[in-house]
């Protein structure tokens, strides 16, 4: 095994079990840290037409153009005005970069395997389809989200098929 491969495995090890915790409304959510590229404050957003409401548009992150999604609206919660606590979490999944707009980012947290509980079945069409598991930690319940499911979007596909 080459050094490089060792490094990758070690990196994966250090990222395992770590979650970025953010808040929307009163709930704490977590996403796997390995998907997170960086966190930036709210930026001027350019609106893009013909997209679902929760896709706010795109931002210019140092010359890179990144679509942004308001997670609040994605979860069909009420829209609020952005303030200086509002953050954009830039996540990367394969080739796709997306910024997730959240109320605020709190911390990076270790959640061990025995702290997770099963998600109760409520039907696949509700908001719960974005949940991958629930972490029951000392500092409260954290809803762990599946980044892929938040980002992958039937509605967007449908729109681009129309075009």
């Amino acid at each position: 095994m080459s050094n490089e491969e060792m490094d990758i495995i070690q990196e994966e090890d250090t990222q395992k079990g770590k979650f970025l915790i953010f808040t929307i409304d009163k709930e704490d959510y977590g996403i796997e840290i390995k998907n997170v590229l960086e966190i930036v404050g709210i930026q001027p957003i350019t609106a893009v037409p013909q997209l679902p409401e929760y896709i706010k548009g795109m931002i210019n992150l140092r010359g890179k153009i990144i679509p942004v999604m308001d997670v609040r609206l994605r979860f069909k919660k009420k829209e609020i005005k952005y303030d200086d606590r509002t953050c954009i979490i830039i996540v990367q999944l394969d080739e796709i970069y997306v910024g997730l707009i959240v109320d605020r980012v709190s911390e990076v947290m270790n959640i061990s395997d025995d702290e997770f509980t099963e998600v109760p079945e409520i039907g696949s069409n509700s908001n719960n389809r974005y949940i991958s598991s629930i972490g029951n930690t000392k500092s409260g319940v954290k809803i762990i989200l599946d980044c892929n499911k938040i980002i992958s979007d039937d509605e967007i596909d449908a729109i681009s098929d129309l075009a």
């Binding site: 795109m58 681009s160 075009a163």
Partner: protein, 635 residues
């Protein structure tokens, strides 16, 4: 291995070799076309010599060895410039060696170790050298063109008859004879001219000079013979000698520098950041109250320099498409030889610049299309004559940029697509249920872009495996481009590839809608105007139209299309921009025009896929993003 690929010397070797090979291919192919390989032997020799030297230095002995053999061969040709040889064999072998070297260089580039020795190739070259040098040995009897002036003894009289006798004597040994004066047989007065200037002869012979001299002198009354090699040939030789091997001919035009594309991308992003940082500083509220002329001046200078840098970086990514086009030349040549179909490729618009990142995918696509045209499009020579066409097939590859797009058009004058055949196959494959009459020609042709579609019964070396057009179409679509097919039976096929100039700089007209700024490629803009109230027409469905110069045009309210909030909703408050796409015109309604500026086309994030009426986006000077309106998509 990664260490190897990163080695700057190796990188340089690879780049240089590739450039040299391209140059070589160009020389060989163009000289084949105009039949003047002879005149370019020195150039080829020099390139082979350089490749040999470089490869030996880098210890790629196999490449060096092949290059060495080629060098030997061309050296031999160079030294015997008068040798009369069939150059097609040499051309083929040169191209084969070139392909071998290119393959090896690519292996080196990919960090592969397995370097083949190319024994077959070397033995072929050696054979050719052997046969050439055996011809060289006989070159004692090689044909040389001579020029001779024969003077006859004074008072021998009837010089014209003597000259005629001389010619008769020489006839068995010489050919291509010219002489002066010409009318020796008919005109007795020509003897006077011979007395004065001598009898001039120009001829070609395989005899040695001395032998010829002997023959001439056998004729009676000859006083003196002045014989030398004919001048034209001597000139050629001189010219050849001044061009020393190993001496680099200066590349014409601009000098180049090979830069890693990744670095250019990084630089591009950094300049983007720089622009934003600049406006963050100069528009910082903390300094808003500073009223200093000096500061303003410095800030302006900074902005100007940054803009200049931005411009330069933008152009760095654009490269001319000509190397891709030249590859096609080679394909047409090889295939026309192998398939025994005469064909000629015309290239138009080779200087068209496209983004470096598009070069490779486009090259693959064009290669495929060219092969298809040669294989399925162009008919056999015999069939072409039967159809009353020229024996030679014609292919035309054209590049042009229009609006924000680059168009690549490949036209052939071959058999065209067989609509019925395609339709039957489409039915078989379950691609359609409609009857053939319901489908337009274009609908039917577009079936060949579907996966697994190939009507060619037999699989040839070049095409017909059924993976092909669909891959081309997919690759082009991945670049947000499109493929159009047009064909007429027995007249040929025209395939158009349209790709957006992803990062190309275009002139954009910036318009304002509410708080958003949009850009329209200036090339698509026909005109802009403030309409008169009386020119606005509303149809029965409430759609707006405008009369302009006696014509009626549809108006699209951009704020409605793009869901922008704006206070400018009345047609008379805003401005109308007429856009033009392939002769079709439509009017767009916007709040106001901000101005014209060079913009860099960037693709929309992949996440959005396609949006109607938007072809991409661009970063404005203040770091904001502006969407680029796609004229073609709106019309």
């Amino acid at each position: 291995m990664s260490e190897k690929a990163g080695d700057p010397i190796l990188q340089m070797y690879i780049e240089e070799s590739k450039t040299l090979l391209e140059e070589l291919e160009d020389i060989i192919l163009s000289s084949e076309k105009d039949g003047n390989l002879k005149g370019r032997i020195d150039e080829i020799f020099r390139i082979m010599h350089t490749i040999k030297g470089n490869s030996a230095m880098m210890k790629f002995d196999n490449i060096a060895f092949v290059a060495h053999k080629m060098e030997d061969m061309f050296d031999l040709l160079r030294k015997n410039s008068s040798l009369n040889i069939d150059f097609s064999e040499i051309t083929d072998l040169s191209l084969a060696s070139m392909d071998f070297i290119r393959g090896e260089v690519e292996k080196v580039e990919n960090g592969e170790e397995t370097l083949t020795e190319g024994r077959d190739l070397i033995s072929k070259i050696e054979e050719l050298i052997k046969s050439l040098s055996s011809r060289d040995k006989q070159s004692d009897i090689k044909e040389i063109k001579y020029e001779a002036v024969v003077r006859f003894e004074k008072d021998c009289l009837m010089e014209n008859i003597r000259a005629f006798t001389l010619l008769r004597n020489m006839e068995p040994f010489i050919k291509d004879t010219e002489y002066c004066p010409k009318d020796i047989a008919e005109n007795d007065l020509s003897s006077e001219e011979i007395q004065k200037n001598g009898f001039k002869l120009i001829f070609t012979t395989d005899k040695k000079q001395e032998e010829i001299l002997d023959i001439i002198e056998k004729t009676s009354f000859i006083e003196s013979v002045d014989i030398k090699e004919y001048k034209e040939d001597i000139d050629v030789k001189k010219e050849v000698k001044t061009d020393k091997p190993g001496e680099k001919s200066k590349p014409s035009g601009k000098s180049g520098l090979n830069v890693n594309t990744e670095n250019v991308d990084k630089l591009m992003d950094l300049v983007g950041e720089l622009v934003i940082a600049e406006s963050m500083v100069t528009k910082n509220p903390a300094i808003a109250n500073i009223k200093s002329e000096n500061f303003d001046k410095s800030a302006r200078l900074l902005k100007k320099i940054i803009n200049d840098i931005q411009d330069v970086v933008m152009t760095m990514r654009l490269v001319p498409i000509s190397p891709v086009f030249k590859k096609m030349n080679r394909i047409v040549r090889d295939m026309s030889k192998n398939l025994k179909k005469d064909a000629e490729l015309t290239l138009i618009g080779e200087d068209t610049e496209i983004d470096k990142n598009l070069i490779d995918p486009l090259s693959d696509a064009l290669m495929h299309l060219t092969r298809n045209s040669m294989d399925h499009g162009i008919e056999e020579n015999k069939d072409r004559i039967d159809k009353g066409k020229s024996e030679k097939g014609h292919l035309k590859l054209e590049a042009k940029s229009e609006g924000g797009d680059v168009y690549l058009v490949l036209t052939d004058d071959g058999g065209g697509l067989n609509k019925e055949k395609i339709y039957n196959k489409a039915i078989k494959q379950g691609l359609t249920q409609k009857s053939i009459d319901e489908l337009t020609d274009k609908d039917v042709y577009s079936f060949i872009l579907k996966p697994g579609f190939s009507t060619n019964e037999k699989v040839t070396e070049y095409s017909g495996r059924g993976v092909g057009m669909d891959v081309v179409a997919k690759n082009i679509e991945a670049m947000r481009g499109q493929v159009y097919i047009d064909s007429k039976k027995d007249q040929g096929t025209k395939i158009t590839i349209k790709v957006p100039l992803t990062l190309a700089i275009i002139d954009g007209l910036l318009i304002k809608i509410g708080t958003s700024v949009y850009a329209i490629p200036v090339k698509s803009v026909a005109m802009s105007f403030k309409p008169d109230k009386k020119d606005i027409i509303r149809d029965l469905e409430g759609n707006l139209m405008v009369m302009s110069k006696g014509q009626c045009y549809k108006i699209i309210k951009l704020y409605e299309l793009f869901e922008n909030e704006t206070s400018t909703v009345d047609i008379n408050d805003g401005i109308i921009i007429m856009i033009n796409y392939e002769g079709n015109k439509i009017c767009l309604f916007a709040d106001s025009i901000i101005g014209q500026q060079q913009i860099v086309m960037k693709p929309l994030p992949k996440y959005f896929k396609k949006l109607k009426g938007i072809s991409g986006c661009t970063l404005l000077g203040d770091g904001n993003i502006s969407l680029i309106i796609d004229a073609a998509g709106l019309i």
